[in-house]
Subunit: 482 residues, 2 copies
């Protein structure tokens, strides 16, 4: 463990991160919403903590090794979340406790979008913008994490995507490759954000709302500037734009990169994960719309409109709302949640277990049936015509195993705080999959649950966003041994 180089990076990260509070200071000044002091204080604390962390080690020029990646990634989400909570804690509106401020900050940076705040419409604009910006920054981090770092670290089978994006690979030095990849990805991410914001604006949102919602759309975040979320606008055009950009953002950004470089969308349809993702989305949408219509929950037109939007919103783990799906006929809240467990494609801003992992798990199950009938045959697990190495399948299982274990442990924790079963399982599922909304007592917001429950969910959001293992390895003595 290279503590000096980690300090240098952390210092730089904090100084950079402090800049993100600048727009809110300007917005606060423009709207005279009274929150400027909170942001100025927050920015100062963050900047100077970063500066004095960086100062003593600024001349260090050693390269990061692969293994240091774990620590840097975890520090990015934990330390930035903590400093990011300062303005939320300091402002008088909303009047948040320390726990609530951290919850909101982690929920933002992890792009979960679960909120403890009600009365969003009355909040200072600077605070609203800041929440959206946290999600957008979290999304930027995730793209790099998911496309460049996880495959390199081999987290949960993601080595399958190693070297998908060409770039200079020098033994196991981390920086040059990531820098190259990150630039390309951020360019795509920024372009998508601009297109999304423009489309929302043309469709009738105010400029402020358009930019704000574009942030939480491409980041698959789900925060809104209104308590009623997307329903506030009551516009089919805005919902359609949301659907398109949520779907685009839940696809592997490597595919977008290839499409952009080769000026062709062909490669999407060669990708088995993308095809399975589309299949699952279609299946969930059609069956949800069908059930809504057949149970006379809505007219056919409304079943289609609400059903499609909510399926895309929940299945991509965004968490925007146009209807309260927790009140739909009992099978639908469950199946929608199930889709969120599957989540987005690897290398996207989407949460959940990731489509490719679920695909591999299902294929492994089917292989076992075949093997029972032909015990001596060699039956590989194939994805897209290629055999998947055993090592990758084992890593996916390892991921799934630990994922389930932690899910159960945290569920027990929430039940122990006195929450009912439906609230508890949906809250853990929502946090671990970085979805946002839950069922039962957390269908609307997370303000009314005990503080201990909130802390458990904070850990769940971080675990989910860091694909569990990135965070978990730091708690093994083995990691620190040499």
């Amino acid at each position: 463990m290279n503590i000096v180089i980690t300090m240098r990076i952390l210092g730089l990260l904090l100084m950079l991160f402090s800049i993100t509070m600048m727009p809110s200071i300007l917005i606060s000044a423009f709207y005279k919403d009274g929150a400027h002091l909170a942001f100025i204080t927050g920015m100062s604390i963050t900047f100077f903590t970063g500066f004095f962390t960086w100062l003593p080690v600024r001349r260090e020029r050693k390269e990061l090794r692969t293994r240091d990646g774990f620590l840097v990634v975890v520090l990015f989400w934990t330390v930035l979340s903590l400093f990011g909570s300062i303005p939320l804690f300091l402002t008088e509106t909303p009047d948040l406790s320390f726990t609530d401020a951290v919850f909101e900050s982690v929920s933002g940076l992890s792009t979960t979008g679960a909120t403890v705040i009600t009365g969003l419409d009355e909040l200072p604009k600077s605070i609203l913008f800041y929440r959206q910006l946290l999600q957008w920054l979290g999304g930027m981090g995730i793209i790099v994490l998911a496309v460049a770092i996880l495959p390199m670290l081999g987290i949960g089978g993601m080595q399958l995507y190693r070297a998908e994006i060409p770039g200079p690979v020098k033994d196991n030095k981390l920086t040059p490759r990531i820098t190259e990849t990150a630039k390309a990805l951020w360019y795509i991410y920024l372009t998508l954000t601009l297109l999304c914001a423009g489309a929302y604006w043309i469709a009738g949102m105010s400029l402020f709302d358009a930019v704000s919602h574009s942030f939480s759309t491409v980041a698959i975040g789900g925060f809104s500037t209104h308590d009623a979320s997307i329903r506030y606008f009551d516009s089919a055009a805005i919902e359609s734009i949301g659907i398109v950009f949520m779907l685009i953002s839940t696809v592997n950004f490597s595919l977008h990169f290839l499409a952009w470089r080769e000026r062709s969308v062909r490669n999407y349809f060669y990708d088995p994960e993308f095809k399975f993702f589309l299949f699952l989305m279609t299946l969930t949408s059609v069956s949800t719309i069908g059930v809504l219509w057949l149970t006379s929950t809505y007219s056919f037109a409304d079943s289609f409109r609400n059903g499609l939007f909510e399926v895309v919103s929940v299945a991509t783990t965004t968490g925007f709302g146009v209807a309260d799906f927790s009140q739909w006929p009992s099978v639908l809240p469950f199946t929608l949640f199930l889709a969120a467990f599957v989540g987005g494609c690897a290398g996207s801003t989407g949460g959940g277990m990731k489509v490719i992992r679920v695909l591999l798990i299902l294929k492994q199950g089917l292989r076992e049936v075949k093997r029972l009938i032909h015990p001596s045959a060699v039956i590989p697990v194939k994805v897209g015509g290629r055999s998947v190495p055993d090592r990758v399948i084992e890593a996916v299982w390892g991921f799934f195993s630990v994922y389930m274990m932690l899910f159960v442990v945290m569920l027990i924790g929430l039940l122990a705080t006195g929450l009912d079963q439906v609230t508890a399982w949906s809250a853990v599922g929502s946090a671990l999959n970085n979805l946002g909304p839950g069922l039962g007592d957390v269908a609307a917001h997370y303000g009314n649950i005990p503080d201990i429950a909130k802390w458990i969910l904070i850990v769940a959001m971080l675990l989910g966003r860091l694909e569990i293992f990135t965070l978990l390895v730091l708690f093994t003595p083995m990691f620190w041994r040499r």
Copy 2:
């Protein structure tokens, strides 16, 4: 597929099975409970169907091949359950529909112990005895299935236990080996039953109740002759006897076989599954008793007594009751259910996923953490000091994958019939793990749920008992192809 030899076996099985209705005819005559006609009719139908299935193929002497084992095992549980339901359908008390009769019969033979009947105390003795006997017969079947057949077929990693019991193995002929093994196992099973019945009798049960409850104890069935289950007796002695025999019956019968042959209990403590089983039982018991006491649900004495019995009853998947655990503080119903998902040891009459599978899944998860830190190291999964072959781990994962898939599909099915989430998940979990009691609307019995829900649970009970794959392979075109 050897249809002729299968017919011969099925015919013989039905003729043998018809004998199981004989005791009830005698009991009915003795108590003059009026149910004798139902049993005489049921016995005749069963016997003659068997006879006329067997008659045309009686001279067939071909040996069964390994692959035919799937079909025979599935026929044992499905066809016998169907014929076993005849007396239950025909009697006037209880007045069961066709669905309810099949549910009760499958629940008996699969040793689940979920009941649709209330007012047990008023039921004809012959019917009560018959339900218990179905469980005991189911238990006899399971022992052979679990110790001799599953390892040979290699279901869900059970090839790990191949050749644990020495016996003549002639290429892949099924019969000689199974006959030898079955004899030894049934001897142990019968001995345990006699000891259990004797102990219950001495502790104060009537002879009828003692025998009846010994059947459902060693079979890990859970049916009782009283609505109040074991609580009816309100006897610490009876509860202690139940605990001891439930625990013994949930341990791999191969270990009992070795202990009996070598006159030593040493081998138990060399068995990693047994040790992990004891660890889990201790952990669950201590924490449950602690929570009951700390939440003032009971006095310390009652927390200990009720807590210990319910933990053993649910964790072994027996399902006897001395207290309504579904009303305990919310975390306990969940953790107890969780223990039932783990279930008994392989090669026992217990249900659930089996302790060894859960152990392997956990170890695989931990290996993945180690691998991330040392990417190039070869790290085997070890159980009891020996490396587990990859093939076995893959089979366990395949089992787990299909298990989860089916769980989710059946849960969706139950939700679609209008059950609430807690009732639905606990009902599927209880059926698939062959536990018995559920939560919510099925905490006491299964009488009030829709018929479709009952049929889904019937399938779940059979899938659980047949370790899923045995039943599932029959639905693949591949199985029937040659």
